[in-house]
């Protein structure tokens, strides 16, 4: 392998039902920084069916080139179909770096591809940088977030990593950005297709995406129960639609809150403008998912709770008294 043959930073653009997922824009934002540091291009790999019209958006987000793979086989994500498509594109274009969102799709596709390519893959990176030797430095949490490790893949290409949604920042769309859209025809080997999609079912009820909320009122063990969370919801309601209620793992395991509202290592990574942690002690796995928030205010009875080590403002007190009182105060303040 000659490393010099491999160039440019590629992003796997994930779409579901024809909708480009937010993580793709976040990765293009990061890829732009890496490509600029290397003096190379950002290329978006865009598989799907009937999706070509959206390629321009990816250019506006920061891509120099979009490789559109438009085929009925790629309508819905299936491991083998997508592995064949992305593998062929990588063999053809020979990227030096490939970034993939660490979603249920990306974490299924990434390792399959890395094994097919016999190259390294670093999972769930929280930081990506270019070294002085122009190598990719991939930093990720290990041991449940207790330890950070910086990993490199210097003798193999491409260098691959997955990045969780919400970790990198997307750039503002630039309507004037110019780029190139190219079509890439995949030669499928259908004899390898052994998985059939019967149906995709979305969870019922109002879908909440806590990663999109500007304000999170988050509850832990100290909230105790559903009645406790009702108090947090009333507080969140004061801020309107930009606020959501989220939860620590303890309350999800206890069945009080749904998993899609869980913040932390095994839940979601969030970075809202305000993270109000109520009755959350602050296990390291939880901190890993929220410590990048702009402003962290923590309310806890225990003044030695680890959550206070990351809080901008720590409030030692009983949330069951403070939260309702704060709700009433904020109603008045916001009316003013």
């Amino acid at each position: 392998m000659n490393k010099a043959d491999y160039k440019n930073v590629f992003v796997f653009v994930e779409q579901r039902g024809g909708v480009i997922q937010p993580v793709a824009f976040e990765l293009i934002g990061k890829a732009r920084e890496l490509a600029d540091a290397l003096g190379e291009k950002v290329v978006a790999l865009f598989p799907g069916c009937g999706i070509k019209a959206q390629a321009q958006t990816l250019i506006e987000a920061g891509a120099d080139q979009v490789v559109v793979m438009d085929a009925p086989e790629l309508k819905d994500y299936l491991t083998e179909q997508y592995s064949q498509a992305i593998h062929q594109a990588i063999m053809h274009f020979m990227p030096s770096i490939v970034l993939i969102g660490a979603t249920t799709i990306g974490r299924d596709l990434g390792p399959r591809l890395s094994a097919r390519l016999e190259t390294g893959l670093t999972a769930d990176c929280t930081k990506l940088e270019i070294s002085e030797e122009k190598e990719l430095m991939m930093t990720r949490p290990a041991f449940g977030g207790n330890l950070m490790a910086t990993i490199m893949c210097t003798e193999h290409r491409p260098q691959m990593s997955t990045v969780r949604p919400g970790v990198m920042r997307r750039r503002e769309l630039d309507k004037n950005r110019k780029g190139e859209v190219v079509d890439f025809a995949v030669k499928f080997d259908a004899s390898k297709f052994n998985v059939k999609l019967l149906e995709t079912v979305k969870n019922e009820g109002n879908q909440v995406d806590i990663t999109e909320a500007k304000i999170l009122v988050s509850g832990g063990r100290g909230v105790q129960n559903t009645e406790g969370f009702a108090k947090l919801q009333q507080l969140a309601d004061v801020f309107g639609s930009k606020a959501q209620v989220s939860s620590s793992r303890a309350m999800v395991d206890a069945g009080v809150m749904d998993h899609d509202r869980q913040v932390g290592q095994t839940g979601k990574t969030v970075r809202p403008n305000l993270y109000l942690a109520c009755g959350i002690s602050g296990a390291i796995q939880h901190l890993a998912g929220m410590e990048e928030s702009e402003l962290i205010i923590a309310i806890n009875k225990d003044k030695f709770a680890p959550i206070f080590s990351v809080a901008d403002l720590g409030i030692v007190g009983d949330l069951h008294k403070i939260v309702p009182m704060l709700t009433e105060r904020l109603k008045k303040e916001i009316k003013k």
């Binding site: 990993i151 390291i284 702009e294």
Partner: protein, 260 residues
């Protein structure tokens, strides 16, 4: 039906402490457990054994102490246990680990291979799909349930972020299983007693017909450049007082930061 379940012994990361001076894990006194997702996978295999008489083998790659998780698997009801242990596997990243396991799995009859979705010490979720690729098997990850038709077909429920998918797959294939969806059984008392008399087969590189270039540090494309304890940001102020005073402080902070 022949099922092989890959399991891993892991430190219980909820108890892990970091030495702040050296930035390394303090391993002393940390209990070792069977990785939770692997245990969920083992339970799925044992249900298929209960219903269809499947033969279940467990394999783990690790140091000799990993024997403990194989005994636990015997106590839960598996038929055969293999410990893959050799200095040649040391320093393996996920790709080299998947190669070692794939070489071993090639030597074991299988219609279905099950791994956990991910291990709690690394959280990569990579080894299962990488094994599937090496063995040219179809994979389904994030499996929450799998129904067998009694012949050669599974109907599988795969969890997604905002829902689930139903998929159909023919054997041979590989599943990576979620612990949260499949609650493992307890060891039976009789199983525990018998587990210590049962044979754990010890396999080394010599047993698995492996390409040594693909194993251990040599077969690992990635290298850990450095590891360090996470630098926490400077803590802010911590306030005590009456609820009224504290609410005032919060409101003042929200105003200062233009939240309200």
């Amino acid at each position: 039906m022949k099922i092989v379940v890959c399991i891993k012994q892991v430190p219980d990361t909820t108890d892990v402490k970091i030495n702040p001076q050296t930035g390394t894990i303090i391993r002393e006194g940390i209990p070792s457990i069977m990785n939770p997702d692997d245990k969920g996978g083992l339970e799925l295999a044992l249900r298929l054994k209960d219903e269809f008489g499947a033969h279940v083998t467990v394999i783990t790659m690790g140091p000799p102490q990993a024997d403990a998780v194989l005994r636990e698997a015997y106590a839960m009801g598996v038929d055969r246990a293999i410990l893959l242990t050799d200095r040649a596997f040391a320093g393996a990243d996920t790709l080299a680990t998947s190669h070692a396991l794939a070489f071993a799995l090639n030597c074991i009859e299988h219609d279905l291979i099950i791994t956990g979705r991910q291990a709690i010490d690394g959280d990569t979720a990579q080894v299962g799909p990488q094994i599937a690729e090496h063995l040219k098997l179809a994979q389904i990850s994030y499996v929450a349930d799998a129904r067998f038709d009694g012949k050669d077909k599974f109907t599988v429920k795969k969890e997604l972020e905002d829902g689930y998918q139903m998929l159909e797959v023919h054997t041979p294939c590989l599943f990576t299983v979620l612990a949260s969806a499949i609650k493992p059984r307890y060891m039976s008392v009789r199983g525990i007693c018998e587990a210590f008399d049962k044979e754990v087969e010890i396999w080394t590189v010599a047993n698995i017909n492996a390409d040594p270039e693909k194993l251990g540090g040599k077969g690992s494309p990635t290298r850990v450049k450095k590891s360090f304890a996470k630098a926490l940001k400077q803590p802010g102020e911590v306030k005590e007082g009456t609820p009224e005073e504290l609410v005032d402080i919060i409101v003042a902070k929200l105003k200062e930061k233009f939240i309200i």
